[in-house]
Symmetry: C2
Subunit: 162 residues, 2 copies
Amino acid sequence: MRLAEGVEWGLHCVTLAALLPAGAALPASRLAEYHDVPSAYLAKQLQALSRAGVLEAVPGPRGGYRLARPASAVTVLEVVEVIDGVEPAFQCTEIRRRGPARLPAREYRVPCSIHVVMDRADAAWRAELARTSIADVVAMLARSAPRLALEKGLRWFQEVLA
Amino acid sequence: MRLAEGVEWGLHCVTLAALLPAGAALPASRLAEYHDVPSAYLAKQLQALSRAGVLEAVPGPRGGYRLARPASAVTVLEVVEVIDGVEPAFQCTEIRRRGPARLPAREYRVPCSIHVVMDRADAAWRAELARTSIADVVAMLARSAPRLALEKGLRWFQEVLA
């Protein structure tokens, strides 16, 4: 099982947007430059995040993407689900309804126990991601990211937003 | 993100093995027949489960696969990890080390906060699967599976083990 590569990109872009000065926005090309990822592919993730109301696309010469809501009101789960979808990792194909013990479909009124167990794990995964906001990620970053990287990032902001 | 299709098959086969009468074993071809899945592909999952010490391959004319341990000592997580691997769904490619704010690799002494958050969710998923044993699945099945399917399964056992 593997999440789409765009999940990492989307989370980093939304986190970067949360670090922008109030009112500022970054064009897709700058977000791609900051993360050194292909602009055309990143553009799709940014458009999806914008359609989902996580980012907001600001038009005009100083336009670009910014957070559509306070970082404390955007969960990590939202970003992950926009990029990777909401389908559980376990796809039940109802193999219990095949083979010599099968019955007509109407007889299966309760979900398969294996499906239930896998769904519980999926719910635990999503609950963990839902209880962490982008503001939490920013707070963790502020404590743990290399000081010099934060300073370089800030200087880059000042240059591109000047 | 999507788990390998073999996860569903493996969980059903291990659960079926837990329902076998003491001392009995089922050949791969019979396990494939019961679940109506391709025998050649299922054989690979069964061999992997056997190598991992979840199933035991019994040689001889009445041989086949049976549980290598009591069902209460096999977790759902073990079966999932044998089939799908132990790699987390989120692969951190360290994009923080790219772009204009990048530093030499030695400066990153603490994992990326986004990576930490995703790892926590992965741990929650695995913890949920680790706290459920195959004996738990069997107990759930006994309560919730259609009675008639259990009876048909039992009759099939009696035929093929006769």
